[in-house]
């Protein structure tokens, strides 16, 4: 067997006479940083913070199902370090391992050494992607579709036609359609949100001008719908508009918003992510000038992109961030200002006092709740949705086991790592179904769509619903 690999490790210290007796002449940190540029040097500076204690084994939801050490941050960062050291050939296998991740942020938040695993994984994928390119399917999705709004819209329309031919409405929830064939690997018929025509710019009730603004008109709630809401769940946008109008806020949905860039950033394509980020920030210019204005999100992952990833990573510490900021004609102040105003829509509604407007339980069903990872972990919202549901659910609120666990969606994770994602999904859907609640509420369109699949597979007849819809319904006949 091979002994060359471990001769050094077998030696250990042999005496107390000073340097050189350890058989260690160089280590990867020293060796690489001596010749690397500033970008790699600073990545190494962060990489060394991982002291390999293994705490991420306790927090990683992908590892919880797979039991694979390469899935936890410690493993991925170990691979990244080998690659930087030149001991590992950059290849598709490495890319696939670095992207077996739902980007939930648990490992970063729970790291005892405070290592920024988010930065390291995004930057690491980025460096790798620059050397070997994206896998074709992923490039088509993050660049070709989400990277180009017109193509995305056309593709959604085309998907609508495909759905009309090859999908049938879900028996439990007509806004989802189910494929007539079973998907390989996934092993089941797949449910997708039914693709809809382009949303109306303004909810009908608002257009009628029946609202009196309570807050000053220059303190609007600006809504960022996000791709999935835009194309698959436009009624969530209508619901949000009604909720904030009821709170006396001027509601704005700016033209020209595009994908938040998270799929590209998570895939290691920082250039596409930055281009989208810059386009969004330009579309928002002028709408968020007053201190009282807020940017509300229906998808917590989009919210995290605006609130955290733009300033901290894409235009922050990731390589090329400062240059990209200047090239886009943006300033860090502007990016940080938008970040500070970015909030989850349901949490904002709660904060602004929507609770007082609820007319009593609008639904007779019992409800359970699924915490979206990004909402609970990265935005810190978990008690407000429960308070809201206790007020709204006539049939009672039922907490599911392991309230902090992931549905397995993770954006393109579900596309690239179907089997791992489906395993996580089945476990989570089983837990939610075990509550016996008739409705599964959540506050993320991605979790909604993915859990609809899990619940369909579990066969309990439950359907998923976004909290903002329940809140809007709870406003009674006033709108």
């Amino acid at each position: 067997m091979s002994t060359a690999s471990a001769g050094g490790a077998g030696q250990g210290p042999s005496g107390g006479q000073g340097c050189g007796q350890y058989g260690i002449v160089a280590n990867v940190f020293e060796r690489v940083s001596a010749v690397a540029g500033e970008d790699v040097r600073s990545l190494l500076g962060e990489l060394q913070k991982c002291m390999r204690c293994g705490q991420c084994r306790a927090s990683c939801p992908v590892f919880a199902e797979s039991g694979r050490e390469t899935d936890v941050a410690r493993g991925k960062l170990g691979l990244l370090l080998e690659e930087l050291g030149g001991d590992l050939r950059p290849d598709r296998e490495l890319y696939a391992r670095l992207t077996r991740c739902v980007n939930c942020g648990r490992c970063r938040l729970e790291c005892p050494s405070g290592a920024d695993t988010g930065y390291m994984l995004l930057e690491g994928r980025c460096l790798l992607q620059r050397r070997i390119g994206l896998p074709p399917v992923k490039a088509a999705v993050v660049r070709g579709l989400f990277g180009r709004p017109a193509v995305l819209r056309a593709a959604a329309a085309a998907l609508g036609l495909v759905q009309a031919l090859l999908f049938r409405p879900s028996p439990v929830d007509p806004r989802h359609v189910r494929s007539i064939w079973r998907l390989p690997v996934f092993g089941q018929r797949m449910l997708l949100p039914r693709m809809r025509k382009r949303r109306p710019a303004t909810a009908p009730a608002l257009a009628a001008g029946r609202r009196q603004y309570v807050a000053p008109a220059d303190a609007p709630v600006v809504i960022y719908p996000g791709c999935l809401v835009d194309l698959g769940y436009p009624e969530l946008l209508t619901a949000a508009q009604e909720v904030f109008a009821r709170l006396g806020r001027r509601v704005v949905v700016p033209e020209g918003l595009v994908c938040c860039g998270a799929p590209a950033a998570y895939a290691g394509d920082a250039d596409t992510a930055r281009r989208l980020a810059a386009e969004n920030l330009k579309a928002l210019a002028g709408h968020l000038d007053s201190p009282g204005s807020r940017l509300a999100f229906l998808c917590p992952s989009c919210a995290v992109a605006f609130r955290h990833d733009y300033p901290a990573y894409l235009f922050g510490r990731m390589s090329g961030g400062t240059e990209a900021l200047a090239a886009a004609g943006l300033t860090m102040d502007a990016v940080s200002d938008v970040a500070a105003k970015s909030v989850d829509a349901t949490a904002l509604a709660w904060e602004l006092g929507i609770g007082e407007h609820l007319a009593g339980p609008p639904i007779s069903a019992s409800v359970t709740y699924h915490d979206p990872c990004h909402l609970r972990r990265l935005l810190g919202v978990h008690s407000q949705p429960r308070e809201a549901l206790r007020a709204l659910a006539g049939g009672g609120f039922r907490e599911a086991p392991r309230p902090d666990s992931c549905c397995g969606f993770g954006g393109t994770f579900a596309l690239e790592h179907v089997a791992a994602s489906a395993q996580m999904l089945d476990r989570r859907a089983g837990e939610l179904a075990s509550t016996g609640a008739q409705l599964v509420a959540t506050a993320c369109p991605g979790c909604m769509a993915w859990l609809a699949n899990g619940l369909d597979r579990a066969g309990g007849g439950q359907r998923t619903v976004h909290l903002i819809e329940l809140i809007a319904r709870g406003l009674g006949g006033g709108v």
Binding site: S2, A9, G18, R89
Partner: protein, 486 residues
């Protein structure tokens, strides 16, 4: 790492394809890992040494049953290939890292609690059960397994048994060994034995040599632990905390002695030096610790009136030398007082930006009366080498955790960190201590075994030879080979 950077090939050069073929026949193929990228992540643990110089396995197997472990060990023995057992890989010693390649047995997927026999104060678990998971299952039923390592949330019971690890509560409750009633072990030839009695559910037994104790703390050098009969005890009804700050480290050390003389027996006595206190305050904005050179934290537990009595008496003893004393027994206040101690590990990085905490010289144990002298000596070592060393630890049993904070990109500093670790280890031996209280020997302390044990190391080597004549069980560890190198 390996000579070849090829990761497209399924195995690194040197792996025996015959062995891998037979392993695939014994264990389902997806639990036999041979891809280079799968092996890399098993080439280190949290030790400073293996972060610098990883040790790559040739193949990793993730067994799920004793029969699979026995078959894998027998196959490895037949091929004369080393076997290194591993749990969560949280060791700070290089213990679970293969020193000479071969098979790594990742036991973390043998993670079932097999039996919960609380009427008889025991549970039977597989080695991969995570410590926190076990206690989370036991505590609602009123019981617990007392040793409490800092890595509780991820470390495995098997790793704790193999390392005889402990934690803060060792002052009152002792180390893992005190709770191990019996073991199932796969020996180096694949034979399976049960120690502590084949069918025994007894809580005490002096029948025969105490083989259980022999395997506890043997760090995988004598066999693979596949099943553990563990004693559990009732959870104390209440916990309280006393915090006291002192103008000098000496005053803190003398107070610990006063406490035992006053016939008090706290569950834990922890100390943080000034650097550690500063780190905690930097880490938690708003956290205010009383001024002092050292802070002591006591944990007391038991029935509510006993906790109140003990905490009050402890506070009175502390007041003789301390400049600030606080105590609490309602859970919120207990947590607030305990917060500084709870975050100190996490906080260590805040003392120096652009640096990392390394595990080197991190686990010495000295006589209690020598703790102040040892803390002063560690600060002197820190000054001489020019990097911070934050020290905290379990002063109640003299166990100190030193955490050097270095920049691994600086080669000279890396070398000085090795020297500092060596000096800390030698300091411990000089003042009648030991190089390791609860982390183990592994690779990093193998060189001190001869000096620490003298002729007794010869007896250890004879035992090793009797149980593992071919030397395939975790070779290179604990100084059990010739030349003190394993």
């Amino acid at each position: 790492m390996t000579a070849s950077p090829e990761n497209g090939t399924s195995r690194p050069a040197g792996a025996s394809s015959a062995l891998v073929r037979s392993l695939r026949a014994l264990v389902s193929a997806e639990r036999v890992l041979t891809r280079h990228q799968d092996l890399i992540v098993y080439s280190y643990d949290a030790s400073f040494l293996t972060r610098l110089k990883p040790g790559l396995p040739d193949v990793v197997v993730q067994p799920q049953t004793t029969a699979e472990v026995a078959a894998v060990v027998a196959a490895a023995a037949e091929h004369g290939v080393p076997v290194t057992p591993r749990g969560a890989g949280t060791a700070q010693t290089g213990g679970p890292v293969p020193a000479r390649g071969g098979v790594v047995l990742d036991l973390s997927r043998m993670n079932r609690v097999l039996e919960t026999d609380l009427d008889n104060l025991q549970v039977i678990v597989e080695p991969g059960v995570v410590h926190a998971t076990l206690n989370a299952a036991l505590e609602p039923q009123g019981f617990f397994f007392p040793p409490d390592p800092g890595s509780s949330q991820m470390c495995t019971i098997g790793g704790m048994v193999a390392g005889n690890t402990s934690g803060m509560r060792a002052v009152k409750y002792g180390a893992t060994a005190e709770y191990v009633l019996g073991l199932e072990v796969v020996l180096a030839d694949g034979t399976v034995i049960t120690t502590g009695g084949l069918r025994s559910r007894a809580l005490k037994s002096v029948s025969g040599y105490d083989l259980t104790r022999l395997f506890v703390g043997s760090e995988g050098t004598l066999g693979v632990i596949t099943r553990i009969r563990l004693k559990v005890i009732p959870v104390p009804e209440r916990r309280g905390v006393v915090m006291a700050a002192f103008c000098s480290i000496e005053a803190a050390g003398e107070t610990v002695i006063d406490v035992f003389r006053a016939r008090l027996r706290p569950a834990a006595i922890e100390i943080m030096d000034r650097t550690a206190c500063r780190a905690a305050m930097l880490h938690v904005p708003g956290l205010v610790l009383p001024q002092g050179e050292g802070v002591l934290f006591f944990q007391v537990d038991g029935p509510p009136p006993a906790v109140t009595y003990e905490a009050e008496k402890l506070a009175a003893v502390c007041r003789r030398r301390a400049n600030h004393v606080e105590w609490a027994e309602d859970p919120a206040r207990v947590n607030a007082l305990w917060q500084a101690r709870a975050v100190v590990g996490a906080a260590s990085g805040r003392v120096r930006e652009e640096a990392t905490r390394v595990c080197a010289g991190e686990d010495i144990c000295v006589p209690i009366i020598q703790v102040p002298a040892a803390l002063a000596a560690i600060q002197e070592i820190s000054r001489r080498h020019g990097f911070p060393i934050l020290t905290y630890g379990h002063i109640g049993d003299g166990n100190l955790h030193a955490a050097p904070l270095i920049d691994m990109r600086d080669l000279a500093e890396v070398d000085r960190a090795h020297q500092a670790a060596d000096e800390i280890h030698r300091l411990a031996l000089r003042i009648n201590g030991t190089t390791t209280a609860e982390h183990g020997v592994g690779l990093v302390r193998a060189a001190y075994m001869d000096e620490e044990h003298g002729p007794a190391l010869g007896v250890m080597r004879a035992i090793k030879k009797a149980l593992d004549p071919a030397g395939i069980m975790n070779p290179g560890k604990m100084g059990l080979g010739r030349e003190g190198r394993g």
